[in-house]
């Protein structure tokens, strides 16, 4: 056929197709005129039922067993064993599925008839039967059961539990699953996978098409392990490149490729972590309605799996941070970095109330004999109950809470809770309106009420030092506040009528963290003293007759006093004035005065004591980075951890009858960000790392343009190195220590850091390649480490008798000498160009200013005017020593970054004021000095209620 003739055929063909089918024949006849051959040619092409057959309609490698063109031709009819075949319900990758009736047991089953090729390979059949028996032993409410194997006319057939309802795949065609439902479903999938993994069974082909959601919301995972059962023997390999891929086969079509783990895609051996990957894909897709890794071709999809990160920005905004982090952990490309056990996902998903069996188990087992471990609930479902589980036999019996409830789920920050004596309502602080107010919420339901929004009060925002208190008669809420516009530097305790609100009145002057004794006859509170130290004061119930129970000690913070149940002791938290409250301890002192005794001592944090009958609740992180709730029995028993999961539990408070406990759940997002140092309005923050790795405290060396940072991405806080953009991170230190505040030596050969390895805080040095970590000093370190320009010495702030002061340690011999600086000097930064150490110096409450000395302690730049207040701040010289980045983090205002040029006519210029909840953690200059990189910490907090059974 000539090209011209073919063009004519094509044109007539398409023109005919554009017409009504009934008119085509006439059209073709007319168009071809007398050319009979052409008419036949066109008509024979038009006669091909390509569309009806979907001929070549699915990509070759995407086609396992596509819907049958003519199901009738191979339709199974009649009986298979005791089963009456009813209808065909699906044609899938592993054969045709029928619905059938088990005539003996009078139940419907699904029968999956396997490819004929099975029957021809006796070895394969034997292996199939063996595997199927193992799978049949999987008996779990969320796994579709395998009942048995039958012979269906010479072809092996699996008899399976018939599960009503749509597959998740078809549900997802209509869009994402509402978050709450998605997480409930995810939770059930976790249960199913965990049960299977415990038996050593890996699904291998988990995907939405293999998950069914029954009309009652119950999730069933289908085809467990079938991918392997139906596979040929794994020890025969056709292709060396595909060594172990015989695990999964025909069904692995394009759709499935999206859920393949990187190791599957590479043809490597798979284990349960492949299911964890697929689980992450499924959860992601439920929440977003889109596949985590998708491409129009297999090659694109695989490239996405191997190289790309799923777009977390498409997750619903309300997705709990725990779930985001879980997804990250499930979708780690390297199986070794991936979530290890699917059971670990549970804490991040929250224990959603679909599991009454486990709840009742914990009730019977733990309430009487066991140790109930209250599981964390990282998730939010409005008002839905969240169950706590897990009973571990133990002789010590802490109060066991069987149920937990997320009380608040807003994007606002809720914190500082108090619970009414009758346990029916809570008061808390929230910035839902913008400014922080006192809110009240009844646990039984109803909208929260803002009690102070219309009052002329500025409320103290630092939750960690107090929180609210409800009077024993339930009629007043104590809150730290001052009148708006007040020039007063400190906050007082005010009383707000409760629970309905009313006009607040001032109660005690300059007082924080006030607590009533249970009979209301006495109060205890903190009189804040900044660097002079905080005092703990006891007074009569009306505020009269105050006397210091614990005198102020310089350099010490004492917070969070709490009465013992019998009123004989006051418990409180104390720490030397370090950057992050580590180390800290919980002590108690007789309410009548006397010696204090330590209740909890740790090199890390132990705070928020809540004495109760039989023991003390508190928050601590003895083994990790984040705070959990702990319980220490009064007797000899060991402390026991009550919560697990993502986020920090803080500020526990308990109802008078001990049946309800409310706590703040804090989640941090810590990421590295960069900002150009420009003053033309272009100083915008740009993220470098995501917020889930806990990246903080970057330090860039201009010698190598490498960065060292502190990160909790591995689960414990260690040092990592990366390029100057934070990319390609590599671990520098390991172990379960907390390694932080790293600083490159001037030659970039070493990194100094602060660590609690070995059980004491101290300065450590490690070579930049990770070799030879060694302790330099054994000392608490308040904030930053800074090297002398010659690399011989390191300056830092150390707690002294009354307030911090600067110290310098010699790197070679570890000899320390103190720098004669005024009390309270901290946050040193040694200029790379000469003998100038910038530091911060407090002057009066809440006021901290930038000062300079040389290494002999003599003042430099003494004529410079006062800097802006840089309270809670820190400093970093630029690499050329001409400019200084100065961060101020005032307790009740937004953090700001200033650029200081001591030699300039305009020495102080504000680079940026950060949003309210953002706190910088560590700052460094890029090698060229054009930008700053800092750790950006954002804090989210909500309230959680734990309940004991009746």
């Amino acid at each position: 056929m000539t090209a011209e003739r073919w063009r004519q055929v094509s044109r007539i063909y398409h023109d005919a197709l554009a017409r009504d089918p009934r008119a085509r024949e006439t059209f073709v006849r007319e168009a071809c005129g007398s050319d009979e051959n052409m008419r036949k040619e066109v008509e024979s092409l038009l006669a091909q039922p390509v569309s009806a057959e979907n001929f070549l309609g699915r990509p070759a490698a995407a086609v396992g067993f596509p819907p049958s063109i003519d199901p009738g031709a191979s339709m199974l009819t009649g009986r298979v064993g005791v089963h009456q075949v009813l209808e065909i319900v699906g044609v899938g990758g592993m054969g045709t599925v029928y619905r059938a009736r088990d005539t003996k047991l009078a139940r419907d089953v699904a029968i999956k008839v396997l490819p004929r090729s099975f029957a021809s390979d006796p070895q394969r059949l034997v292996r199939f039967e063996r595997e199927a028996r193992l799978l049949a032993s999987l008996n779990h409410p969320h796994i579709a059961a395998i009942y048995g194997i039958e012979d269906a006319g010479g072809r092996p057939a699996l008899v399976l539990e018939f599960v009503e309802g749509p597959t998740l795949a078809s549900t997802l065609e209509r869009g994402p699953v509402p978050s709450a439902e998605a997480l409930i479903a995810a939770r059930q999938i976790v249960d199913a996978l965990e049960a299977a993994h415990e038996k050593g069974i890996v699904h291998r082909d988990l995907k939405p098409a293999n998950i069914k959601i029954k009309p009652d919301g119950t999730v069933k995972v289908l085809d467990f392990g079938l991918a392997k059962v139906i596979a040929p023997d794994t020890d025969r390999h056709d292709f060396p490149e595909a060594a172990n891929t015989a695990e999964t086969r025909d069904g692995l079509i394009l759709g499935t490729a999206s859920y393949m783990s990187p190791e599957q895609a590479r043809g490597q051996a798979v284990d349960k972590r492949t299911d964890i990957w697929a689980f992450g894909c499924v959860v992601y897709e439920m929440l977003t309605g889109r596949a985590a890794f998708a491409g129009d071709t297999i090659a694109d999809t695989i490239a996405a799996i191997l190289e790309r990160e799923p777009d977390m920005a498409t997750l619903p905004a309300a997705t709990p941070p725990g779930v985001r982090r879980l997804l990250q952990r499930c979708l780690a490309k390297d199986p070794k970095q991936r979530l290890r056990d699917i059971g670990d996902a549970r804490a991040d998903l929250g224990d959603v109330g679909s599991i009454p069996t486990t709840a009742s188990r914990s009730r019977t087992a733990s309430w009487t004999h066991g140790r109930a471990v209250v599981l964390a609930l990282g998730m939010a479902i409005g008002g839905a109950a969240v169950w706590l589980i897990r009973a571990v036999p133990d002789r010590e019996v802490p109060p066991s809470f069987s149920r937990a409830l997320r009380l608040t789920t807003t994007p606002a920050h809720e914190f500082g809770p108090a619970i009414s004596p009758d346990g029916k309502w809570i008061a808390y602080l929230s910035d839902a309106r913008g400014p922080t107010d006192v809110w009240v919420k009844f646990i039984a339901g109803g909208e929260p009420a803002n009690l102070t929004g219309s009052m002329n009060l500025e409320i103290q925002v630092r939750s960690a030092i107090g929180g609210l208190e409800i009077s024993p008669d339930g009629g007043s809420i104590a809150v730290q506040a001052r009148e708006q516009g007040s020039s007063k530097p400190t906050f007082d305790t005010w009383l707000v009528p409760a629970p309905l609100g009313g006009t607040p009145r001032k109660f005690v002057d300059t007082a924080g963290a006030l607590r009533w004794s249970s009979d209301g006859a006495r109060i205890v509170y903190v009189r804040p003293g900044e660097t002079r130290g905080d005092a703990i004061v006891v007074a009569d119930g009306n505020g009269g007759n105050p006397r210091d129970l614990v005198a102020a000690r310089g350099g010490w913070h004492t917070h969070w006093p709490a009465w013992s149940a019998d009123g004989r002791f006051v418990y409180f938290f104390q720490t030397i004035a370090t950057w992050n409250g580590e180390p800290s301890e919980i002590v108690r002192v007789p309410a009548s005065g006397g010696e204090s005794e330590i209740v909890v001592h740790t090199t890390r944090r132990a705070l928020f004591p809540l004495p109760s009958a039989g023991g003390t609740f508190y928050a601590a992180n003895p083994r990790g980075v984040d705070l959990d709730l702990w319980w220490r029995p009064s007797g000899k028993g060991e402390p026991q951890r009550l919560t697990t999961g993502v986020g920090e539990y803080a500020e526990p408070r308990m109802s008078a009858d001990g049946r309800r406990l409310v706590s703040t759940l804090i989640e941090y997002r810590r990421a590295l960000v960069s900002i150009p140092v420009v003053f033309d309005g272009g100083a915008r923050v740009r993220p470098l790392t995501d917020g889930f790795g806990g990246d903080l405290e970057p330090c860039i060396s201009p010698r190598t343009d490498r960065m060292v940072l502190s990160s909790s991405r591995s689960g414990s806080r260690n040092l990592w190195t990366a390029d100057a953009e934070g990319a390609h991170p590599r671990p520098l230190t390991a172990d379960s220590a907390i390694d932080e505040r790293p600083s490159f030596s001037p030659d970039a050969g070493q990194v100094a850091f602060v660590s609690d390895r070995g059980g004491d805080h101290g300065i450590w040095i490690v070579n930049s390649d990770g070799a030879a970590p060694r302790r330099l000093t054994r000392t608490p370190v308040l904030d930053t480490l800074t090297w002398s320009p010659d690399g011989q010495r390191i300056a830092y702030a150390v707690p002294a008798d009354h307030a911090p002061e600067l110290a310098i340690v010699d790197v070679d011999d570890g000899v320390v000498h103190r720098l004669p600086t005024p009390n309270g000097a901290h946050s040193p930064s040694w200029s790379p160009r000469g003998d100038v150490i910038a530091y911060l110096e407090p002057r009066g409450p809440g006021r901290t200013y930038l000062k300079f000395v040389n290494s002999r302690g003599e003042r430099v730049y003494s004529t410079l005017p006062d800097s802006p207040a840089l309270t809670n701040g820190f400093l970093a010289w630029s690499h050329d020593g001409r400019r200084l980045a100065a961060v101020g983090v005032p307790g009740s205002a937004n953090a700001s970054i200033w650029i200081v040029e001591p030699d300039s006519a305009v020495p102080f210029r504000k680079l940026i004021e950060l949003p309210g909840e953002v706190r910088p953690r560590g700052i460094t200059w890029t090698s060229d000095g054009s930008s700053l990189v800092f750790g950006r910490q954002e804090t989210l907090s909500d309230l959680v209620l734990f309940e004991r059974p009746e």
């Binding site: 086609v63 056709d238 490149e241 025909d250 071709t297």
Partner: protein
């Protein structure tokens, strides 16, 4: 080994892997544009499938296993078309209309969408659809003859 190979049908996973392995190499060869890469992918997929099918034919003639066919791999029609025959038909179509062969190769073996196919071949989506319809009709007829 050849004997063992004969016992096995092609695993889609292996296809995926083999195609991917070859593609990865292609990527390292520094293909400049994505269109070329996609076209390459489709061509590779076709070759892998057809090579396997031919191997099956050879095994069959040597006595033993069934040939791989579209029935096994691609279509569950009882009468399914032979991949080798499809390959031959595509070659024949290429002599008549090279572009339609490319369209079918990209769509069927490469799994590309209409838009992607259009982009790779630098033609409009309408043209792709027309080529796709007529090309398939031509091939089906060829396979039935």
């Amino acid at each position: 080994m050849q004997g063992e190979r004969a016992h096995r049908s092609v695993e889609a996973t292996e296809l995926v892997n083999e195609a991917y392995m070859r593609l990865v190499d292609a990527r390292y060869m520094n293909w400049q544009n994505r269109a070329h890469f996609l076209a390459m992918a489709a061509r590779l997929m076709r070759r892998i499938l057809v090579d396997l099918a031919r191997a099956r034919h050879a095994q069959k003639r040597g006595g033993g296993a069934r040939p791989i066919s579209l029935d096994d791999l691609l279509l569950s029609s009882e009468k399914g078309e032979d991949l080798v025959a499809l390959d031959d038909a595509l070659d024949a179509l290429a002599k008549v209309d090279e572009r339609k062969t490319r369209v079918i190769e990209l769509r069927f073996f490469g799994g590309l969408s209409v838009q992607e196919t259009a982009a790779v071949l630098r033609i409009s989506s309408d043209t792709v659809m027309r080529d796709w319809k007529l090309g398939r009709a031509w091939l089906r007829r060829a396979l039935r003859e």
